[in-house]
């Protein structure tokens, strides 16, 4: 499965977003605020998701704001770390 699609499935499952299907999440949709409406606990879940599934550890909270903007930014960051 392509990374962006995989991330959508993982986010829906890990964050219990029962009202969303992967196709509802646009690649450039904001994950927080007006988009998916995630909150601060969800941000921690995303950090855990990156650690558990991609062995990537985010240590700087300021980096997180950029990385977790959208599926696109998250996928770009993962691809950068894995290359």
């Amino acid at each position: 499965m392509e990374l962006r699609e995989q991330l959508k499935h993982q986010i829906i499952e890990q964050l219990n977003l029962v009202d969303f299907r992967p196709e509802d999440i646009e690649n450039d949709m904001p994950l927080f605020g007006s988009g998916l409406g995630l909150d601060s606990i969800d941000a921690l879940e995303l950090i855990v998701l990156l650690d558990n599934h991609y062995q990537i550890t985010i240590t700087n909270a300021e980096d997180g704001k950029q990385i977790f903007q959208s599926i696109d930014s998250l996928a770009t960051y993962i691809e950068g770390q894995q290359s």
Binding site: L15, N16, V18, I41, E45, V48, N52
Partner: protein, 187 residues
């Protein structure tokens, strides 16, 4: 002072003021709670992220809310008084299981429910309630003791309305006895 309303949620049914309002045909308790939420509220997706204890309290409050029981309440003068015997042990054990799972980090969204009084916060956030609140652990529910304490809050002018009672969810056993005591209600 007599209770204004009393709601019971158990595995077989939901009873409001001595009348069965729902027969639960679902096999799983969590499915019962999800379906009650969908039928009565369905306006708060965060419900799905709550632990079972909070979902149980939220489902009960949704039933009362849907019948207009909170409509005239002063949100600044609502007291919440809950009791159970197992605290948040269901979530505590879930969290421990995740800790024990090798090579994975525990879930923050499970961790935040490892205190039973989180359910009070969930209700206050959704309904906008402010006032006294207390979550106690006891072996069993003493209804008259609960009524005495709730009444004392009202008589001491701390609050005008009290919601609470017994809320228990552990090892797939669930029980909610949700009682409303209201300064302005004449049952």
């Amino acid at each position: 002072m007599k209770p204004c309303n009393e709601l019971l949620i158990s595995k077989p049914h939901v009873i409001l003021d001595s009348i069965i309002i729902r027969k639960n045909h679902e096999i799983e308790n969590r499915e019962i709670l999800r379906n009650i939420y969908k039928e009565e509220s369905n306006t708060y997706p965060k419900f799905y992220k709550m632990d079972a204890l909070s979902q149980l309290a939220f489902a009960g409050a949704s039933i009362l809310d849907n019948r207009g029981i909170f409509r005239a309440w002063n949100k600044e003068r609502v007291g919440l008084l809950f009791i159970n015997s197992w605290g948040s042990l269901e979530s505590d054990m879930h969290h421990q299981k995740l800790i024990d799972t090798k090579n994975t980090a525990p879930s923050p969204s499970v961790f935040v429910y490892t205190l039973p009084n989180i359910l009070i916060g969930e209700l206050c956030i959704y309904f906008g309630w402010n006032g006294e609140n207390l979550f106690m652990i006891d072996n069993k529910f003493d209804r008259s003791e609960w009524l005495d304490m709730a009444q004392s809050w009202i008589e001491n002018n701390a609050v005008d309305h009290v919601i609470g009672g017994w809320v228990e969810y552990y090892q797939n056993e669930m029980a909610l006895q949700l009682i409303i005591l209201d300064k302005f209600c004449q049952p």
